[in-house]
Symmetry: C2
Subunit: 120 residues, 2 copies
DNA sequence: GCAATATATTCCTATATCGGAATATATTCT
DNA sequence: AGAATATATTCCGATATAGGAATATATTGC
């Protein structure tokens, strides 16, 4: 059966590290032209445009034409589904009484992940 | 330039809808054998095993051998980076005074996303 | 040891995806 | 109109990824 794309999904949209970078640039709520974003990232313009397009399809950004510029804007509300989803697990680290224990577990986990990566 | 995989990243791990389903099964904090997960999802066992492997590489689940079973367990703490990241945008919907306006915006956004998907 | 069960792995195919390069399409300026 | 600028699109090659099918690898029970 044909593999289906879920790239228009918010979760997939923000899965790309570069796209999270783009979001970071827009995080102050200001509008940015593509070129401004390009300047703030070490990335070629076409690649940035493509990522912006992906984000737009997922509703994470919106565009308005202004003169010869296309101004991109973060639509933070589109990220709410992610927040809602992950918030369901919040209790696992918030209700942890022993902070030191938690830190230790996080470190241990990171170690595990690193090992797995190497093993791969 | 060789494209690099970021699949061991938590964000990518949970980008896959099927993997979020797996996480949903484990969300009660209980341990589950692979077969139990297979039963709760409409998915073949090898596919489930592969997704579990991906989640494990990202640290989202851990395994312990118990008898002939491999018991998988959610490591919710691994999801904290996602929570932390998205929490940075919380104010965009929490500090919204007019709830009705917010709902309307969300609807409008969903409409936009739908249109974009069709356009594609 | 052998059958049964549980799980992982390998092989395969179709498709998705990223980024580079080149090019196309506006839009503004002179 | 023609040059300059901004941005998108197309084409391409390399790689990633999902899932099916078949198979391999435990582990348990007899």
């Amino acid at each position: 059966m044909t593999r289906r794309s879920h790239s228009a999904d918010v979760f997939s949209a923000i899965a790309e590290p570069r796209r999270r970078e783009v979001v970071a640039v827009l995080a102050d709520g200001q509008e940015y032209a593509v070129n401004e974003i390009v300047l703030r990232m070490k990335m070629a313009q076409p690649a940035v445009s493509k990522h912006l397009n992906a984000l737009r399809k997922a509703g994470v950004v919106t565009v308005v034409k202004r003169g010869q510029h296309r101004m991109y804007r973060l639509e933070a509300l589109a990220l709410k589904p992610v927040h809602d989803w992950v918030r369901g697990f919040e209790r696992y680290w918030t209700h942890q009484v022993d902070q030191i224990k938690q830190r230790a577990e996080q470190k241990a986990l990171e170690r595990l992940i690193r090992l797995d990566k190497d093993k791969q």
